[in-house]
């Protein structure tokens, strides 16, 4: 009986202590003081902006770290119903290409603009992978201001990668194609008739116009799959490096046929040399139809089609490029903060190979080349360039591997490297100096793609936080049906041992993420658009300017919005008229947008920031009286912010 009582008491005691707490503890993450490290008090700000690509969503999200809060989605290559981007007339032209209006793409690698090898907080560049494009986002407004199409390319994956002072933004071809495009047998790929291009884009930081990017030249290279890139820094300032796979030039069953060679290549391009050759007239005019689109604030975006570029061939510019053999089907190619070492993520390799820039220069000088060259590009001897090989795979028992499937490496400010290991679900911390030594293995859940350290690809990494960007989520969060958000885990890397401190879902498919200390951006973030600087042709900068302008069957409605009414209050048009509403938000107060929607029109929402003018266009098809209203809750009288359009 006594035993029974004791058991009963124990059970009840256990029930009592548990009864007021919900859920279970999170295992490793709550085992430490992790919660304190990521807790940002209500009303307080995060320390870091982390920009994550949206992958197949075509846009970009901004998270605050360490809290993991989602701060904003920035639409880039895709139309965005939340604010009307790409639907409204002001930004629609940004999505124009030589193939017409393409309102969707696949965005992969956000890269912050650089000055002296560090992120400077001016702009962020991101690639459109499917129909090759590079976008520039202004970080004072967090808006896409410019998109340039990359001609003579396909699968714009090794893109965008920047030189130390943003002298150039580089893009390279992942899916080699006939250049210029023509219809030839697909099997010609294996005969070397397909090509890739390395595209160098300049960015004019001095002009006030948002028309800043320009294709300076393209370098025509053999048709391999150029995957990822990084440019040098310090001693390697003049060079950019591009990883490649499928040097087998397979066009069928790449998974098998492009994995035959033990080594593929890193392409080292001397961009200073290329620049000199282009200046000396070695690059020739070449077909290269591409769209260049930009949006000056306060007006309507412009799209221009250009038809030619300058093409440089390696044979016309000796010493412009070299191939460095690298095991095996490498993904990442990362230059350490000193600029002395080039680390490859040899996806299928049992080692992490590290090349020495100094050795590469000596090998070039002494012509330590393999017999075979490709498209006038010499192949350097592996042993002459390799600095160290960090053995990471246990072939007898892969579960014991330090890093199985190394993909991508970033660095901290203490000489350590962090490599993502896709197949073994972990990050490997290792030390890179005269030798390479493994230091710590931490789990990532699951199938980690890229790893991102704040400033981890720069000359001076910030070093405190690291993020894993994972491809498979499964049991990490509450289930939401078959489709789960991707998972990211945040680690504190400031101490001797890495600690996982947060796990949070992300939007779309963040391939890569690029982070910057918040102080570099937060102070110059715009609060409003000045009405006085609004140069939109149909802006109504005061209610006096509001009204209707009829030009034949086209009716421009210059509409003003201010808490809490529109002017004009009523609009009458004729059936069949082409109606364009230009809505100007007269507010000049931070964070008071007005929304706008008209019954039965294909564009159901505009979000107009203070001082902005945005426009929607539709044809008045049916006779009747239809409401329009403010879609953004703006004041206590928001519900009253509603009027009618009559179609007679």
């Amino acid at each position: 009986m006594k035993t029974f009582k004791i058991i009963l008491l124990l059970i009840i005691g256990a029930l009592l202590t548990n009864s007021c707490t919900g859920g279970s503890s999170g295992g490793d993450i709550l085992a430490s003081d992790a919660a304190q490290k990521v807790y940002v008090k209500p009303g307080e700000w995060d320390k870091v902006y982390w920009f994550m690509s949206g992958g197949y969503s075509g846009n970009l999200t901004v998270h605050g770290i360490p809290s993991g809060r989602l701060l904003k989605t920035i639409p880039v290559f895709s139309v965005f119903p939340e604010n009307g981007y790409g639907f409204e007339l002001e930004t629609k032209q940004l999505l124009n290409t030589s193939h017409g209006f393409l309102p969707w793409d696949d965005s992969h690698h956000p890269t912050l603009s650089q000055t002296d090898g560090d992120s400077d907080g001016r702009w962020l560049f991101i690639n459109g992978n499917n129909t090759p494009r590079i976008a520039r986002i202004d970080l004072s407004s967090f808006e896409t201001k410019e998109i340039i199409e990359i001609p003579n390319s396909a699968g714009n994956h090794a893109s965008p990668y920047l030189t130390e002072n943003t002298e150039y933004v580089f893009a390279a071809t992942r899916f080699s194609v006939p250049v210029p495009q023509k219809s030839i047998p697909i099997s010609d790929f294996s005969k070397g008739k397909f090509y890739g291009t390395i595209t160098a884009i300049t960015v004019d930081g001095k002009t006030k116009s948002e028309s800043k990017m320009k294709i300076a030249w393209q370098l025509l290279v053999p048709g391999f799959n150029y995957d990822i890139s990084h440019c040098g820094k310090g001693p390697s300032h003049d060079w950019c490096f591009f990883s490649s796979y499928n040097t087998e030039q397979a066009y069928k069953m790449l998974e098998k046929n492009a994995s035959k060679n033990d080594k593929d290549f890193i392409l080292a391009v001397n961009w200073k040399k290329a620049e000199a050759c282009v200046a000396a007239g070695k690059a020739k005019p070449f077909i290269g139809k591409h769209a260049h689109n930009y949006h000056n604030e306060g007006t309507i975006a412009v799209s221009k089609i250009k038809n030619t570029i300058k093409m440089l061939r390696p044979k016309d510019c000796p010493e412009v490029a070299y191939y460095i053999p690298t095991p095996k089907s490498p993904h990442g190619v990362d230059v350490d903060p000193t600029g002395k070492y080039i680390v490859a993520g040899g996806k299928l390799a049992a080692i992490i190979p590290v090349h020495s820039f100094a050795k590469m220069k000596v090998a070039i000088k002494n012509k330590k080349f393999e017999k075979k060259s490709y498209g006038s590009i010499p192949v350097l001897k592996y042993n002459e360039v390799i600095h160290c090989e960090l053995a990471v795979v246990n072939t007898k028992d892969t579960s014991k591997s330090l890093c199985f499937g190394p993909l991508h490496t970033e660095f901290d400010n203490k000489g350590n490297a962090y490599t993502s290991c896709f197949l073994s679900n972990n990050i490997l911390k290792w030390h890179l100096g005269e030798t390479c030594e493994a230091r710590q293995k931490v789990p990532a859940y699951y199938n980690i793609g890229h790893v991102s350290v704040v400033g981890g690809a720069n000359k001076n990494p910030y070093g405190k936080y690291m993020l894993s960007l994972n491809k498979v989520t499964q049991d990490r969060y509450l289930p939401t049906g078959p489709e789960m958000a991707h998972a990211a885990q945040l680690y504190d890397i400031s101490g001797d041992k890495i600690k996982m401190i947060l796990d949070f879902p992300t939007m779309g498919e963040p391939h890569y993420a690029n982070a910057i200390a918040a102080e570099k951006i937060q102070k110059k973030s715009k609060r409003i658009y000045k009405l006085s600087k609004n140069s939109h042709p149909y802006a109504a900068k005061s209610e006096k300017e509001a009204g209707v302008i009829r030009k034949g069957k086209t009716v421009h409605v210059k509409l003003t919005a201010i808490r809490t009414h529109f002017k004009p209050d009523t609009v009458t048009v004729n059936q069949g008229d082409r109606v364009i509403f230009h809505v100007t938000n007269l507010e000049q107060d931070f964070d008071y947008p007005h929304g706008f929607a008209v019954f039965g029109t294909p564009i159901p929402n505009l979000l107009v920031m203070p001082g902005q003018t945005k426009s929607i266009e539709f044809t008045a098809k049916k006779k009747g009286v239809f409401p329009f209203y403010c879609t953004d809750f703006c004041s206590a009288l928001h519900q009253e912010m509603q009027n009618y359009i009559r179609v007679r």
Partner: protein, 148 residues
């Protein structure tokens, strides 16, 4: 028997352990209808003292122009619109208060006792229009002209 009793006691504790009476929030309806002389209220903001001279007609004309673009969406002179009619404003309010309301709208809306009382009548908060101190002075001159 004893065990049963013990069980009941413990279960009672268990089931009541999370119950907590919700507190009722009672609105404080106190306060004073008495207001200090509004003309002594200089408002909150960067405008500390305004020296008024004889009416400057040229300045008032500039003020009228700014008023018509920045203020007239919500204010009329003689009648109540979204906000109050502005006739008599210089008799009801100090010049500093008027200018602070224009240049430091958000803080005035949150803190100034006169504005807080007015919100109950108008049910809408005045919006900041990014007007400089210099321009606010011109608008004040326009109000002075109206009230003359």
């Amino acid at each position: 028997m004893k065990t049963k009793f013990l069980f009941l006691v413990i279960m009672t504790i268990f089931f009541t352990s999370c119950e907590k009476k919700s507190e009722v929030l009672v609105m404080d309806t106190g306060g004073s209808d008495k207001q200090e002389d509004p003309l002594k209220n200089k408002g909150i903001g960067p405008v500390k003292t305004v020296k008024l001279g004889p009416l400057d007609v040229a300045l008032a004309k500039k003020g009228k122009k700014i008023f018509s673009t920045k203020c007239s969406a919500c204010h009329a002179i003689k009648t109540r619109s979204v906000g109050p009619a502005l006739i008599g404003i210089t008799k009801r309010r100090s010049p500093e208060w008027v200018m602070n309301m224009i240049v430091n709208t958000n803080e005035m809306v949150e803190k100034d006792p006169i504005v807080k009382a007015m919100i109950a009548t108008y049910m809408v908060k005045m919006t900041y229009q990014d007007i400089s101190k210099k321009d606010a002075r011109k608008i004040l001159e326009y109000f002075r002209q109206i009230d003359k």
